[in-house]
Symmetry: C2
Subunit: 608 residues, 2 copies
């Protein structure tokens, strides 16, 4: 064996040792899934990848994505051996350590959190695409497990990567045969993965994943790939290197015991005294980026009829003109979400993810890690398809990542319930890291797109299908965490809290009640999260009760948020969708499910 290969093989054994020791110390974790990929990781970090151990940003360097996130211990071990991190590997999984059980943003070397399987490839594809768009060099290496190849999201991403000819993307499939609770579907039949990846447009090399020379050669082939992504399908053994773990069922997510068992395992690994110095290797610098300005000015007349989804598209195009980072991703709904407007600025500013919402979300996250400000849009209901990706994006802590769900609620009308987003507010509110915005007219629509672009982390914008009249002047701002009180007076009997289409119903209800001499306060809760608790509590103190009204399920949306904010201070009646809706005209449906002006008037009367 050439000297380099011997060293890399020894490093693999050393990485195995680290994983055995750190998981034994933690008394939990997944050593055996680390051991199957030890040669793959050794070759990647100590031979193949160009990177600077002093710079976790990955700029002008290769990037590693551990899609099989439960192998976190070997990532930490490789980073430590490469001189990239200083933490004690034995702090694995401790409350005070960034070396978490699965990779999260708490390590600067983790671009995208993993541990929910099947997510790494789509974000990697987003990174690869982002690099091409930015004119940046550096390849993306993504390590997947064979178990996660059952996730449809992997195949969505595979199709996306070949469709976009991402030859700067290399996937490595660690086919170690054993899942959590038994053998995988195809065990060691690497031919299945090879045939499928080829059918999905990839170049493929099948290798013995423990043969350092073969792995190095395959990476050489991958580096030469042109016009399509490359996959190494590596046959490996789970627990490789230790006789009582190797290829044995029953050892998933199970560390060896400290003491005798650990000593026995480590002894089998032989000489692990090697160390390999990783020199900083970088590609030529990326082109400088143009200056960016993330502001816009709406241009509407008061009373003008415009759908907030259309305002979204208009605003996106405006921002894109002054900020090269702004990019749209859509799932074949661009003419409904209006994200297609950004194409006016340049066709490359719009990424078509086709009908594959997990890829939509994953690619957007990957783009975000490359400095883009991605706006990922589809119908609100179809974002439920990507909910796990949204959740995990939270643990990735991206600089900027905006989701937009259009066609929210029963107000979409005839298409029927499958197309109505009735759970999206609950979904995004429950994600701890997310900001949730809900415009009601053209001006707030554009201003909230502007605010979203300027907001760190994950932002959700909920837009509506119907046209609604412009309520605000073009100079109005909509700071996140605040609200707008549209109708107020000293004699307000009840406060009505609404957003989006129901705000217009609340204003109608105000006028109806005013004729009867009943004054109500009307609040536009455009910032659903964070909530303007102060204004709501003031209203609770100054009026007799609060009616909230939303085109959404009564669970997890605006009503419950308001009820929690003013609990104990005043009565709250929540109007929202309580049953399975059906097809019909928008007005019919808003009436049937009790969220129109008439329903608000009746609720107010009940509370007087």
């Amino acid at each position: 064996m050439p000297a380099d290969d011997v060293l890399l093989k020894k490093m693999a054994q050393k990485l195995r040792r680290h994983c055995l020791e750190s998981t034994a110390e933690a008394a939990s974790g997944h050593p055996t899934t680390c051991m199957s990929c030890a040669e793959l990781v050794s070759v990647l970090f100590f031979d193949e990848m160009h990177f600077d151990p002093a710079d976790p940003s990955g700029t002008d360097a290769d990037v590693f994505v551990l899609s099989k996130g439960h192998a976190a211990p070997i990532l930490w071990a490789a980073l430590k051996e490469a001189g990239a991190i200083r933490e004690d590997l034995l702090s694995l999984r401790r409350f005070d350590s960034p070396l978490e059980g699965h990779p999260t943003f708490r390590s600067p070397w983790v671009r995208v959190a993993t541990g929910s399987l099947g997510q790494g490839l789509s974000s990697s594809a987003g990174m690869a695409l982002g690099r091409r768009l930015n004119g940046s060099q550096g390849r993306i290496y993504t390590l997947l497990g064979d178990g996660e190849m059952a996730e449809g999201s992997v195949w969505e991403a595979a199709a996306f990567a070949s469709f976009h000819a991402l030859d700067n993307l290399c996937a490595i499939v660690d086919v170690n045969r054993l899942g959590q609770s038994g053998p995988t579907m195809y065990q060691h039949d690497t031919g299945v993965y090879e045939a499928r990846l080829k059918a999905f447009g990839w170049d493929v090399a099948v290798v013995d994943g423990h043969d350092v020379a073969a792995v190095r050669a395959a990476f050489g082939r991958a580096r030469g790939a042109r016009g399509r992504p490359f996959a190494l399908v590596a046959r490996t053994l789970k627990g490789k290197g230790v006789s009582f773990l190797e290829d044995k069922d029953g050892w998933h997510g199970k560390p060896v015991k400290k003491g005798e068992e650990l000593a026995k395992a480590v002894a089998e690994l032989g000489d692990t005294g090697v160390s390999i110095r990783v020199e900083a290797r970088r590609y030529s610098p990326s082109p400088a980026r143009a200056a960016s300005r993330l502001t816009l000015t709406p241009g509407y007349d008061l009373g003008q009829e415009v759908a907030t989804r259309e305002a979204y598209g208009t605003a996106l195009a405006k921002l894109a003109r002054t900020s090269p980072e702004v990019i749209a991703v859509d799932g074949d709904t661009k003419n409904s979400t209006f994200s297609e407007r950004i194409k006016e600025v340049g066709p490359e500013r719009h990424v078509e993810a086709y009908i594959a919402e997990q890829t939509l979300a994953g690619v957007a996250l990957g783009l975000a890690t490359e400095g883009k400000i991605p706006f990922a849009s589809t119908f609100a209901c179809f974002l439920s398809r990507a909910y796990d990706f949204v959740r995990m994006a939270g643990y990735s802590n991206p600089p900027h990542l905006v989701f937009c769900g259009s066609h929210s609620g029963v107000s979409i009308g005839e298409d029927g319930p499958s197309q109505m987003g009735l759970e999206d507010l609950a979904m995004f509110r429950a994600v701890t890291a997310a900001t949730v915005l809900y415009p009601s007219d053209g001006v707030s629509g554009e201003r909230l797109v502007e605010a979203a672009a300027q907001t760190e982390g994950i932002v959700y914008i909920r837009t509506s299908r119907p046209k609604t009249p412009v309520l605000y002047s073009n100079e109005e701002y909509f700071p996140i965490g605040q609200s707008k009180t549209l109708r107020a007076g000293a004699k307000d009997a009840v406060t009505v809290v609404a957003a989006g289409v129901t705000l217009h119903e609340a204003l109608k209800a105000h006028d109806v009640l005013a004729k009867e001499g009943i004054a109500i306060r009307v609040i536009d809760l455009y910032s659903v999260k964070p909530l303007d608790v102060e204004t709501l509590r003031k209203a609770a103190a100054e009026t007799r009760a609060i009616v909230s009204v939303e085109d959404h399920s009564v669970c997890g949306g605006i009503g419950e948020a308001v009820a929690a904010a003013v609990a104990g201070r005043t009565r709250v009646e929540i109007l929202g969708v309580r049953e399975l809706p059906r097809s019909g005209k928008p007005a019919e449906l808003m009436k049937a499910y009790g969220i129109d002006a008439t329903a608000i008037v009746e609720a107010v009367r009940r509370l007087l």
Copy 2:
């Protein structure tokens, strides 16, 4: 052309006419996507499928699943022409009609709601598997669009179907080239679909989807398939049959206008005066099923330490012994969710969906339509992967469908945030049709599995990783919509509402406070939805304030449900997870995120 083929071709034209007319009348809908599949639907309903137009149950007959749900008008048209429904086709999309914009349970001929693309194949695979398990004949025919082939869920389902050798399943891919907002990824390149389906283990025929004879021949081949599922990849033209619609972009989801435009389109279809009588054709009757008893008795000692996830598995096995309908589906987590316990009753009682949660949910829904009582389990967090499937299952109104999410909350410990279900209560509560249950000990764990099996529609059971002491006697029942008041007295100062792991913290807090002379009421909110509003309001009236505490995001969970229920009646302080959690020991994490006994004690003191 043989006389039969001529008739079927004419019927295709007639179906096209119906779709043009019904969508023109509704002034919305998708005629062109119906027109591409008119020959396919004509051959299926009037030649290939064995069914009884008088019996929508599909028992001992072939079943049709319209995965491309936006083609609903042609389903309604075919059913009408076959004599299966009596509704006026021109009532399409009207509020008073079961002929909704996309198929829902409001038509008895719809087993699974569609309209969110990519879901039909997994539920069809569940039906096909259910038939094999039940010893029932009758094939499943599933019509997909080419656009939806981008959904990963289709490939998950394709892998599942070939892995389980479901040769009673036939997929038809209508490759009409055009998506909503532009051409599909592969346009008319049927070879891509052929290669991928073959790589995924299917037999495939590529046909001209407008050639009745070719389509009939392909269905003949499909009927002869043994050991693997069969797919027809049909090259078609969107808008086929009308010159100004055919293969034209810009006509997705757009009806022609009533009057001149409609007349012109209809005229191009030629003679549509045909009618074909569908005779009832059935297969030999399915074997009789054994009697079923859905009751159990827990067998725990008070104080015994058992995790609710383990009680779930134990209960599942008990129910399976006395009910042949009970079946478990899991996503390679069966040794963690404990669903594997059901295998003690028989290996065929457990379906392994591997790491493919959308398939997990879809297959379970399909099994439900075949009379099974499916329990679909994985980690609570990974059900977020299947959220769109859960949502759509609601619109399918299955007789019984139970989801179980284990490893909920930060109390899982060291694995870290990617494995913590912190959004699942929000997710399931927001689904209008769902019941949400949350046991805290072994007895309630088993009793709630029993209750779930007896409950119609969608039920979610949330289980926990840690062991907790048994609180209830084996004779205790847990009716849905009620709660248990575990500690109560005339002098209760504050009420603490908890469930699952936090209930045990509440009981500890009770004891700590009791020593200080402070009495608190403790309520076990095991039925999160429907909620025991009466008991909560009574507590609100009798105590000074309510503290809710949950191992879940503060948004959309127990706290907000309680706040909404008692709004205006008393103060509510919500304890739950408010920030991105991390790895650590369970007790460390419950303390760090403010949901342990100490946090409850402090909250109570604040409210005194």
